[in-house]
């Protein structure tokens, strides 16, 4: 019975592919990465303010003009500052932001693996 359910789910999963990506996807992708200046906790995609609605139209227009995702980000960065981007780019302000977690991961790894080697020494 359980197995049957599981198979039904998989059957359903494989058929999910029929969902096609439409042209709104790229716009949504971009607006999700923009922070709304009016309701400052939300992305432009999630927000419903006048500003966010206009920005959605603008992004679509820029895409139609043939600008790439990054060009649109750059354009808006000049207008509103880096704050508007949810995805901080790697520069001198954000080295620590991006690299510190990785550094912590590596240090953690060293501590964990040191325990194994300690053991080996004990055995010898």
């Amino acid at each position: 019975m359980n197995i049957l359910k599981v198979f039904l789910i998989f059957f359903f999963l494989i058929h999910l592919n029929s969902v096609k990506a439409d042209d709104q996807d790229e716009r949504n992708q971009i607006t999700k990465n923009l922070r709304c200046l009016v309701c400052q906790g939300q992305s432009v995609y999630d927000s419903d303010s006048e500003f966010a609605n206009s920005l959605k139209i603008l992004v679509k227009q820029k895409l139609n003009e043939g600008l790439s995702e990054n060009q649109i980000y750059d354009y808006l960065k000049i207008k509103y500052g880096e704050w508007i981007l949810y995805d901080p780019e790697l520069n001198k302000n954000t080295y620590i932001l991006w690299l510190l977690p990785i550094l912590i991961f590596l240090i953690g790894g060293v501590i964990v693996f040191k325990n194994f080697f300690k053991k080996k020494k004990d055995q010898l």
Binding site: Q42, W83, F105, K118
Partner: protein, 624 residues
């Protein structure tokens, strides 16, 4: 008026009782054969006083007593009865009072229920807990008094923000606080155990119950908040990586790590220092969260009344606690030599250690992502935003080894082990990869990472599924939790990859049609309720199978305060949620309509409940 007086003086008395409890505890500490009856009764008295205070605030809300400033700011006579009560803790002052209530309740339970532990340990835990309780009393009385008078008495209140008038959000804070406050017991207990050098297997199995209880509450609390955000806040998102959400996730991550780590300590008396650090970190992160949220140092979708003075108080209080714990940790903790105790590379300890390693990484990503903008702003005055893409980039790739480890780890034995049933492990891995590939084969973007990710989630899914049959009830709670986690990750992944969305502008009578879906905007009608007026739009939506469903999303115009909210209409089925929401567009006669099909939405919630059930079972299990 009367109730405010009762409530206020109960608080003052409660603070006084704190001092008495500390006094008697210290006295009792020198002569510690039995716990003095005084202490137990005073602890109960304190709890009772806070209950009285809390009840008087509830009564003030129910009676709409606008001579009370908190009631005036957050209530209104037309508000439904249920939300008058829930509104008690839907605001800053009331929620702190609730926090205090849980604090006093938990320490009372702790004193009553802790058996077979040294008296000195119980007394010392009580003292540390009273320090926290005093901090909260002072915070309430000094900066956030829920019983301030207003004169002249206003005729009508300002009302509760309508997006907070919601059943999920009414029970979200109490549940979450049970989790947060549970972690305060762990904190005090860890400090007491360190000071008395009692960190041992026995202590571990005693505090494990508290860890499990807090963990279950915290998990459910976050779940409720997330469900609320899903149908109330946005456009079908349930986690925005918003600072306020991160702040609840951080103690959860620390607590989950602690939960795994305490298992090792319980069996093998190793990693004791690490357990202490985690116990301290969990509560510190909860407090740090309170600071970040209440001080208004961060901005977030979740608007709270902000006040820098309150922020300063919590900040100082937080750092007093941090420095006390640092002092105790460095001064008393003498357990370090035990750490060098042996590890064999293939053992349950190692896998838990690796779990800890990854969890700490996840925690550091969330922590750094949340506070980094503050640091950058203070140091360089540059302002940046850290949002979902940051967390996705740093977290998602690391999930792959984490999931694999989660699948294999529980199969290992303590101390030293061989991997049994190697063939099974390999066969299941191959099946998982094939399945993931089949599902994603037509998918264009990021196929590689998604396939690997889904494979590893499937792998965990299959292995824990198989363990239900092979291992029977040997370690059912762990297995349920891990199984739940695999479903959780799978549903999120499928939800992300296969959601589809239509955004369009429609007037009444118009129809939107594409190859899959036909949306007919039938009509609009209006409804008048006591505290809001609603505009209901009626849609008929036909999906690709030709089935037609009626949807009626609403726009609500609340009268007190005047706020327009849009209420989504969501049809939930086992396999997918269909979600429609409308909005007005300035100076246009059409509505902005968003229709989303989100597969496996329900499974995200169910899997989290499953994970909590795992914790609950472990909590109920008697140790043999």
């Amino acid at each position: 008026m009367l109730y405010s007086t009762i409530g206020y003086y109960s608080l003052i008395l409660g603070l006084g009782v704190s001092l008495l409890i500390i006094f008697f505890s210290v006295k009792n500490f020198q002569n510690s054969k039995t716990i003095s009856v005084n202490i137990l009764s005073f602890t109960f008295l304190q709890f009772f006083l806070v209950v009285v205070s809390f009840l008087s605030l509830i009564i003030s809300f129910v009676l709409s007593d606008f001579s009370n400033e908190t009631v005036f700011n957050n209530s209104h006579t037309t508000k439904p009865f249920f939300y008058k009560i829930a509104g008690t803790w839907g605001n800053h002052e009331g929620s702190l009072l609730l926090w205090l209530l849980v604090l006093t309740l938990f320490i009372f339970i702790f004193i009553l229920k802790t058996k077979n532990q040294p008296i000195k340990y119980k007394l010392l835990t009580l003292i540390f807990q009273q320090i926290i309780i005093i901090g909260f009393f002072l915070f309430l009385i000094e900066t956030s008094n829920p019983f301030n008078y207003l004169f002249p008495i206003p005729v009508e209140g300002l009302g509760l923000n309508p997006i907070l008038q919601d059943p999920a959000l009414a029970i979200h804070p109490p549940i979450l606080y049970l989790g947060y406050v549970g972690s305060s017991i762990i904190f005090s207990s860890a400090l007491a155990a360190t000071s008395l050098n009692l960190v041992s297997k026995k202590w571990a199995s005693h505090i494990k119950k508290w860890i499990l209880a807090s963990w279950v509450f915290l998990t459910l609390g976050i779940l409720l908040g997330s469900i609320w955000a899903y149908y109330e806040l946005g456009w079908g998102g349930f986690w925005f990586w918003d600072p306020v959400e991160n702040v609840s996730l951080m103690p959860w991550l620390a607590l989950t790590t602690l939960l795994h780590c305490i298992l090792v300590l319980e069996r093998k008396s190793i990693l004791s220092s690490w357990v202490i650090i985690l116990s301290i970190a969990t509560f510190t992160l909860s407090m740090c969260g309170t600071f970040l949220v209440r001080s208004g140092i961060l901005n977030s979708v979740h608007t709270f009344a902000n006040d820098p003075e309150r922020g300063l108080f919590i900040l100082i209080f937080l750092f007093i606690l941090i420095f006390i714990s640092l002092f105790i940790f460095f001064f008393f903790n003498k357990n370090e030599e035990k750490i060098s105790h042996s590890f064999f590379w293939l053992s349950k300890e190692t896998s838990i250690l690796i779990n800890n390693w990854f969890m700490m990484y996840f925690l550091s990503v969330v922590l750094i992502g949340t506070v980094y903008p503050i640091f950058l702003d203070v140091i360089t005055s540059e302002k940046i935003s850290v949002g979902p893409p940051f967390y996705n980039k740093l977290l998602v790739p690391f999930l792959i080894p984490f999931l694999l480890m989660m699948a294999i780890g529980p199969r290992l034995k303590w101390i030293k082990s061989q991997l049994e049933d190697k063939i099974y492990l390999i066969i299941l891995l191959i099946i998982s990869i094939l399945l993931a590939y089949l599902i994603l084969k037509n998918f264009s973007q990021n196929i590689l990472i998604n396939t690997v990710l889904i494979s590893s989630a499937f792998y965990l899914f299959f292995i824990s599924l198989r363990d239900f049959f092979v291992d029977k009830l040997k370690n059912i709670s762990q297995n349920i939790a891990h199984f739940g986690f695999s479903i959780f990750i799978l549903s999120i992944l499928f939800n992300n990859l296969f959601s589809s969305e239509i955004i369009t502008n429609l007037k009444v009578g118009e129809t939107f049609e594409n190859s899959e879906t036909k949306i007919v905007f039938e009509s609009v009608n209006q409804k008048q309720e006591t505290n809001y007026k609603s505009i209901i739009a009626n849609f008929n939506i036909q999906n690709s199978n030709g089935e037609i469903d009626k949807f009626s999303p609403e726009l609500r115009i609340y009268n007190q305060p005047i706020i327009v909210t849009s209420e989504a209409d969501i049809k939930t089925t086992l396999m997918e949620d269909r979600f429609i929401v409308i909005n007005l567009v300035q100076n246009q006669n059409f509505f902005n309509v968003r229709y989303q099909v989100k597969p496996f939405m329900l499974w995200i919630w169910l899997s989290v409940i499953l994970i909590s059930i795992g914790g609950l079972l472990s909590f109920l299990k008697k140790r043999s």
